[in-house]
């Protein structure tokens, strides 16, 4: 347990010092929203209708950007081997790394979401639904991304490859995330979509650490 807290604390400290990952993810999110705003701003109602989808797609892309570096730094300086030799199960270590990664890249997206929503004319009724859906969705994306990051450790063109690999598993989160955000507008029950998102999160929480750990073991053999 102590090891896991140490891992999270260490990763957070490194991320705080470097700041690059958080800035990349949030910066991309804001930039993309700005561009969409400029591009579609001429027709405010069209922008409003598309806002939920646009926000989710940019959130997805933003979280894909930082995936490559989840394990890369540890892999390069050898601390990954050290981690794998500790008593803690590799699956829990995966969970800790994913948690740290989410805090630095997923959580800032959720914080930035209302601002993005304002920029894209998202009706304010949907803000709560958006934040809630992102709260369930972004950790799921991070967990799935951990599998992709572990599979592609040391690969050529790892960044693009990760995106291709996690895309199939990201799509359900995207579909239900947008649906959950938009139900607040249409008046339909938000609960069903949010429950689906919650279900994905729990499934990812249970399965992704095992897949990522298996991938990591293959990587460093």
């Amino acid at each position: 347990m102590a090891i896991l807290c140490a891992i999270i604390a260490n990763d957070l400290r490194l991320a705080w010092r470097r700041g690059a990952d958080t800035l990349t993810a949030v910066g991309f999110f804001v930039l993309a929203a700005l561009l969409f705003g400029f591009g579609l701003g001429g027709d405010p109602s069209a922008l409003a209708r598309a806002a939920a989808g646009l926000i989710w797609v940019t959130a997805l892309l933003a979280s894909m950007l930082a995936l490559e570096r989840m394990f890369a730094a540890d892999f390069e300086d050898g601390s990954l081997d050290g981690l794998m030799m500790t008593d803690a199960p590799l699956e829990l270590i995966m969970l800790a790394k994913a948690a740290a990664h989410w805090i630095t890249t997923g959580l800032p997206l959720i914080v930035a979401a209302p601002g993005i929503g304002l920029m894209l004319n998202l009706p304010t009724d949907a803000f709560a639904a958006l934040m809630l859906a992102l709260l369930f969705g972004t950790p799921t994306l991070t967990l799935i991304g951990a599998i992709g990051a572990a599979l592609t450790l040391g690969a050529r063109r790892g960044g693009v490859l990760i995106s291709l690999l996690v895309l199939p598993l990201y799509i359900p989160v995207l579909i239900f995330g947008v649906a959950a955000t938009e139900t607040a507008l249409s008046g339909a029950a938000m609960d069903a979509r949010l429950m689906a998102l919650g279900g994905f999160f729990l499934a990812a929480l249970a399965l992704a650490p095992f897949a990522a750990a298996a991938a990591l073991r293959q990587a460093v053999r």
Partner: protein, 241 residues
């Protein structure tokens, strides 16, 4: 039994003679299927002659799912029992599966244009089959992304297993969600709900596709065996000189 087949020579002794049979079945079933599909089967009551696309679209869909299942099965065998030829089969099947998925999507788009009036719709069935295509492409890309060949094989095998969750989603998507795509008419709980005059060409084309797939797989394994022998000779030659 798995270890029995690990020896490449033995593998070819068993599967080599199957090859001409695969070709024969592919040609005969395919020929008969095409004749029935294009000439001797009835046009549909509502869709007219466009239903003939079904005789390509449906078997290719079955192959797209089947090929991925083969890849997943052999990936599991490769990772768990470390059978040396299992990775080879998984690797050979990926481009074939991608090809069948592409055929399924394109023929489906052509058929959809006539029967639904639209080339594409983002419903569960079409989206998940498109996702399947990306899974195949991801498998091929991942396998080739490493300098160390065995690392690429192991990573691709893991990806195949992780992505297998998409297969039941594709199969049951037309039942779980309201979609434009029609529900299952053949592989369903109550048995085929389709007339024999259509079931025959459908089954013949499916058998032909399967035999073709098997033939190409056997040839691919043979290629890999030859490649490994060549590599061994090169290494031995280098050692001598």
């Amino acid at each position: 039994m798995l270890n029995f087949l690990a020896n490449p020579a033995r593998f070819m002794r068993i599967f080599g003679p199957l090859l001409p049979w695969c070709w024969a079945v592919a040609v005969l079933a395919g020929g008969a299927g095409l004749v029935l599909a294009l000439f001797a089967s009835p046009a549909d009551y509502q869709q007219g002659d466009s239903v003939r696309i079904m005789y390509i679209h449906v078997p290719s869909a079955w192959m797209a799912l089947g090929a991925y299942t083969v890849i997943a099965a052999f990936s599991a065998i490769a990772l768990v029992w470390k059978h040396p030829l299992a990775h080879v089969v998984a690797e050979a099947a990926a481009p074939l599966g991608a090809g069948f998925t592409a055929i399924c999507l394109v023929t489906g788009m052509l058929w959809g244009k006539t029967s639904w009036g639209t080339w594409w719709v983002w419903d569960a069935r079409l989206t998940s089959v498109l996702v399947l295509l990306f899974l195949y492409l991801g498998l091929i890309a991942l396998r080739g992304a490493f300098d160390d060949e065995s690392r690429g094989q192991r990573a691709a095998a893991l990806l195949a297993l992780v992505g297998f969750v998409n297969i039941p989603i594709i199969k049951f998507s037309v039942e779980w969600w309201a979609t434009l795509h029609q529900p299952a008419s053949v592989l369903r709980a109550g048995g085929p709900a389709i007339h024999p005059s259509m079931l025959w060409p459908l089954s013949l084309m499916a058998v032909a596709f399967m035999a073709y797939f098997a033939a190409l797989l056997i040839l691919s394994v043979r290629t890999e065996i030859a490649r490994r022998k060549a590599e061994a000779l090169i290494v031995a030659g280098r050692r001598q000189s």
